[in-house]
């Protein structure tokens, strides 16, 4: 099967700053998540895949075609960019219809396509208002509509959920899932794992311009699980609690965070640990004020994966 997006030894440098570093990647059809912390190279990858940037080294192909200097490919590709930029004086309808007309549609086709795209993203009610008055969620929906209006085979969505409220987020996720079900391919970037997990099991992980891992979420989670999870517990008599915890085999290490009246526990079985913790606290009479996992921070996950 021909991959939808192919990166073959691609590097991109901005002066002496590396955006992508010798990236070789084949993204199959369907919805794929592109995960990475800020500065990982996600936007660079998407800009290369949409022909906005020229690779410093290597080749980028989408739908089997070289991307750079190939505007015809844009008939089959749509991009929802990260930047919150519009022609603010336009209405949502006007903006999306202009994008449709710029894609080569006749006036009649553009009108029908605009209505369809705005309906799909749930913007019909507000489509005749000026964009400058839109909420963040409406702006994201409108950006998605312009990416969809010419019915591309492949969609590139750069942080489409950034700044959206939960309702808009859920709606946008539904739209993307439905597009996947309808046979479109989409590459969705985010720095939030659970957002992508809710969309697709296929994930590509980038960190500092390098491919860290790719595959199904479960495989990546297993990879992460080979490293101990770090859990911080804030409580008054933390030394007593530590003495109790250390007796359990799944606890690999305990560090005292004296200044914060807390302990940092390393365990390979977080589920069992969390299940046991309330009972142990009750038995010891320990009042736990806060429990959080350092692993919620994606940066920590990447540090695990790149062995930092």
């Amino acid at each position: 099967m021909t991959p939808v997006v192919e990166f073959d030894g691609v590097s991109k440098w901005y002066g002496n700053v590396i955006g992508l570093n010798k990236l070789t990647l084949r993204i199959p059809a369907g919805v794929t998540g592109l995960l990475g912390p800020n500065g990982a190279g996600k936007s660079t990858l998407l800009q290369l895949a949409t022909g906005q940037l020229r690779p410093s080294q290597g080749t980028v192909r989408v739908l089997g075609q070289s991307v750079w200097s190939n505007p015809g490919l844009n008939r089959h590709v749509g991009l929802c960019p990260e930047q919150d930029a519009f022609y603010e004086w336009m209405t949502g309808w006007d903006f999306v219809q202009t994008c449709a007309r710029l894609s080569g549609m006749s006036r009649g086709e553009a009108t029908a396509a605009t209505e369809k795209a705005l309906h799909l993203v749930g913007m019909i009610e507000n489509m005749h208002r000026a964009i400058r008055g839109y909420s963040k969620g409406m702006r994201q929906r409108t950006k998605l509509a312009q990416a969809l209006v010419h019915e591309p085979q492949v969609l590139f969505l750069d942080e489409p959920f950034t700044g959206t409220d939960p309702v808009a987020r859920r709606d946008l996720m539904d739209v993307i899932r439905n597009l996947g079900d309808a046979g479109r391919s989409a590459l969705v970037s985010s720095h939030v794992l659970h957002e992508l997990q809710a969309l697709t099991p296929n994930i590509v992980l980038l960190h500092r311009g390098r491919l860290v891992a790719e595959g199904r979420v479960q495989q990546i989670r297993e990879l992460i699980d080979t490293h101990p999870h770090r859990i911080v517990i804030v409580c008054d008599n933390y030394r007593v609690l530590a003495a109790t915890l250390v007796a359990h085999a799944d606890v690999e290490a305990i560090h005292f965070l004296t200044r914060d009246s807390a302990i940092l526990v390393e365990t390979r079985q977080p589920d069992a640990f969390y299940a046991r913790l309330p009972r142990l606290a009750l038995e010891n009479g320990t009042a736990i004020r806060e429990v959080y996992s350092e692993d919620d921070n994606l940066e920590a996950v990447f540090k695990y994966l790149v062995s930092e």
Partner: protein, 290 residues
Amino acid sequence: MNQAIHTQPVRPSELRLAPGRCFAALGELFWLTLRQHTHGRRLLVLVLLFALACGLAILLRSLSRPAPAEILEFTLVFGLIPHALAPLTALLYAAGMIQDEVEGQTLTYLLLRPLPKWTVYLTKWLATILICGCLIGLFTLALYLAIYWDTRELWREIMPGRALKTGAALALAQLGYCSLFGSLGLLIRHSLIAGVAYIVLLEGVIANIEFVGRALTVVYYFRVLILRWLDLPDLLQRQWLRAWQLDPAKMPDALTCVETVAIASLALTIFSALWFSRSEFAVKTPESSS
């Protein structure tokens, strides 16, 4: 579900946009650019500047001892407009036609369309020339009206003859200025500063000095065209020749002026369009990476 998804590579024939659709898309881009140009504060500023010039002309002609129309014409129509207002109009519009899209981060929406990049540049350039040409043409006619409104020659000689010819020469000057400042906006980040410096130094100072370098200025060709095209009385022609330090024997003919400005403008624009088509426009660069 993914197994059912179409993954066939796109055939080259599926990449081409039919010529009719391509022209329709470029027409939309042309229309979009016109709308952009009429939506900013720039238009308001320029209207205000031209209104001030017209107001000044009306005021000076309304005094108990009105200023002579020829002196006002020379100062405002052949001084203020070609030296300041025309290049400023072109600078504000042409330097911003791509730079504004880059700074506003809206260029992405144009580059993600199935249109060759060079056609995007050319279309925006054409729309910019149309706007600048129309603005300058209208304001020139308005200024002539303001200067000659109380004379009998207004509708017999001035408007159908001198004003139209001056408008045509200024339109040609706008072609030169738009091409120049369009390139400047593409190549230089602080194009407004560079543009103002160019207007002052080259079009303002060097164009008035009699040496070969003045042939590189737009104002030089504009002045020669005015002297060649307008049927000025001998006395007036001699005064203007002296003021502009021009020698009729060394001046090129009108056709050469038109050809020179048109060819130089087209060459510059073709270069800029090719430069634009080879350029990358990164929306953001990584803040830190190793």
